[in-house]
């Protein structure tokens, strides 16, 4: 009897606390939703702020340079030591200032395309042989290599390209390639110091391999075994089964990973800055020549841009950054559209790790 009442009063106390707590719980719930909403909206707000800021900063450069920005080949702050200024479309500029980004645009596009041409086949082929051909234990060193390649800081790639890969290629590979394949346009001629377009492309290729290879490996592992086994039972060789069954199955996902890798190569700054040979205002005459990219130029010139009292140099860098952003954004959208048409798996997201 006593025990029962004790239990009863206990539960009554408990009910009372719960009722009192209910208000607290409701408040907590509302607080969580509000905090979560703020967290989820913040990236969008930051993105809008960045875009507005870039457009605002780039405005005077767009007015001053017009289309010349895309077609001109000379990036020149002008004479900053005389007080006379040129005025065009209402924008003041230092005398003789010219902002033509064509060499940078070409350098950015070419180095990233070379990276795709070299990196994607290596990535897909290595994932294919790991999943479909080699014993399961072999995938461990492969996975470790991919994880490390994805994790190395880009300055480490730059250092490696500068002191190991560049000199090696310049001494042992490029002269032979130029001699044997010299009849192909842009592959012959002077091979230079090993710092330039092709070396940048190769370093970028190594950097995008983990993105493409890891995605390909994971997708290949998801191909239903019966489809492949069916092909093998019909007398396909391993390669024919891969070419006609597995690879078509995962095409869309691999394509998405390629676009992601391309975006990374487009925006890569430090590694390219260190191995591109940092050419200013030149379009290389062959594939070995020094280049510069949009991202590397922003790092290299931001310091000196501030010395321009008219502020146009800074504005021109903002326009270059905006252009780079638009290219990566456009490639992302394009990948989505194509993937939706292909009805494939979703585009992988991230910075490659």
């Amino acid at each position: 009897m006593r025990r029962e009442s004790a239990a009863e009063s206990g539960s009554l106390v408990k009910a009372a606390t719960t009722a009192r707590e209910l208000g607290v719980v409701l408040m907590l719930d509302r607080a969580l939703v509000a905090a979560g909403w703020i967290g989820a909206v913040l990236p969008t707000v930051v993105l809008l702020l960045i875009v507005v800021f870039l457009v605002h900063s780039a405005f005077s450069s767009v007015l001053y340079n017009g289309l010349h920005f895309l077609t001109g080949t000379e990036w020149n702050l002008g004479n900053l030591y005389v007080s006379t200024t040129t005025v065009r479309n209402g924008v003041k500029a230092a005398q003789g200032a010219s902002y033509g980004a064509l060499p940078l645009i070409l350098g950015t596009l070419l180095s990233s395309i070379i990276a795709l041409v070299i990196g994607v086949p290596i990535a897909v082929a290595s994932a294919l042989v790991i999943v479909e051909r080699l014993p399961r234990g072999w995938s461990v060193p492969f996975s470790v290599a991919l994880e490390l390649l994805a994790g190395f800081p880009s300055v480490v790639y730059g250092l490696w390209g500068l002191i190991v890969l560049g000199p090696f290629l310049a001494h042992h590979i490029y002269p032979t390639v130029a001699r044997v394949l010299g009849f192909i346009p842009f592959l012959g001629g002077q091979t230079g110091s090993g710092l330039g377009l092709l070396t940048s492309g190769i370093v970028l290729a190594v950097m995008i391999i983990p993105i493409v290879a890891a995605t390909t490996r994971d997708l290949l592992a998801q191909v239903p075994p019966p489809t492949r086994e069916g092909a093998l039972a019909l007398g396909f060789t391993g390669w024919e089964a891969a070419r006609l069954v597995s690879l078509p199955w995962i095409r869309a996902g691999v394509f998405g990973a390629c676009i992601l890798g391309w975006a990374r190569a487009l925006g890569e700054t430090m590694a390219v800055l260190m191995v591109s040979g940092s050419a200013a205002n030149t379009i290389p005459s062959n594939i070995y020549g020094p280049v510069s990219t949009i991202a590397a130029t922003i790092v290299a010139l931001l310091d000196s841009a501030l010395t321009d009292p008219t502020g146009l140099a800074q504005s021109a860098l903002a326009e270059a950054g905006l252009l780079l952003f638009l290219i990566t954004f456009g490639s992302n959208i394009l990948a989505r559209v194509i993937l939706r048409r292909a009805g494939g798996t979703a585009l992988p997201v991230g910075r490659g790790i």
Partner: protein, 283 residues
């Protein structure tokens, strides 16, 4: 089977094996190259002396890197985890898709563009100067979408029966999230945070014009004092024409690789833990 088909099969797999070598060899070569370059000049004194002119040690850079990446993961982790929980558990489908899309676009912004905006907006316009706060914010903007995505993914992999269970028990949503959904999601969230540390550690471009550089140890104030970090040493000291600068750059690269290995190991342990959770959930 015809000879030509068998030959082409063998040839293709040989090429694929070659491709595999082309993945593994650069990985080994990067590590070996940097170890070999930095081995002659490596000494434990590097860890206890700051940089000095064109040479010296790495104490200021290592401590600065740790301060920067921990600060970044605190700021970006706070925002990203809350946002990820919101996207996975609380948001409507259409709002969620829209917010997710913009977050992915933010993740795709080249890091140097974030560095430019951070420099002109925070360092110059707001007048913070080269500072820890500017560096941490620039890194956080880069890392935020990543943490949000990994958090959302680790909540989404929890089976719906868990949610039905706490609703059926009459638990309020906050309690359900905390007591039922959070425990199985935590290993995945933590793995994401550790990988975010690794990404933040490797960045240079957003920091050059926001964090600046100094020979001094990390400052005690948020603004107006530059802070040192390892990746800067690798880049800037390589450009110096002195042998001891190059040695220091290589040692900095080696320190970065060692830190990376530690972080990868930690994330491995956590994802192993999270897989144990997943199998228990499915059982």
């Amino acid at each position: 089977m015809s000879l030509s088909r068998r030959l082409s099969d063998a040839l293709v797999w040989a090429l694929c094996g070659l491709a595999l070598l082309l993945v593994i060899i650069p990985t080994v070569d990067i590590i070996v190259g940097i170890v070999v370059q930095s081995a002659p000049s490596w000494s434990w004194k590097l860890l206890t002396t700051p940089t000095h002119g064109v040479a010296g040690g790495l104490q200021n850079a290592i401590l600065g890197t740790i301060v920067l990446i921990v600060g970044t993961v605190v700021v970006a982790g706070f925002v990203g985890v809350l946002g990820g929980i919101y996207l996975a558990e609380l948001s409507g489908q259409r709002t969620g898709a829209l917010l997710r899309f913009f977050s992915e676009v933010l993740a795709g912004i080249p890091s140097i563009v974030i560095g430019y905006v951070g420099y002109v907006a925070l360092v110059i316009t707001l007048g913070w100067g080269f500072s820890m706060l500017a560096g941490v914010l620039a890194l956080s903007i880069m890392i935020m979408p990543y943490i949000m995505k990994t958090t959302e993914a680790s909540f989404r992999q929890i089976p719906n029966t868990y949610r039905e269970a706490y609703v059926a028990l009459g638990l309020p949503r906050v309690v359900g999230l905390q007591k039922v959904l959070l425990p199985p999601a935590i290993p995945g969230v933590l793995t994401g945070l550790v990988v975010a540390l690794a990404i933040a550690m490797g960045e240079t471009a957003p920091l050059i014009y926001t964090a600046g550089w100094t020979n001094a140890l990390p400052p005690h104030q948020l603004t107006h004092q530059p802070i040192a970090y390892l990746t800067y040493v690798v880049w800037a000291y390589t450009n110096q024409p002195f042998a001891q600068s190059h040695a220091l750059a290589n040692s900095a690269a080696l320190s970065l690789i060692i830190l990376l290995l530690v972080l990868i190991l930690a994330s491995r342990l956590m994802s192993w833990q999270s897989r144990r959770f997943t199998t228990r959930m499915q059982a």
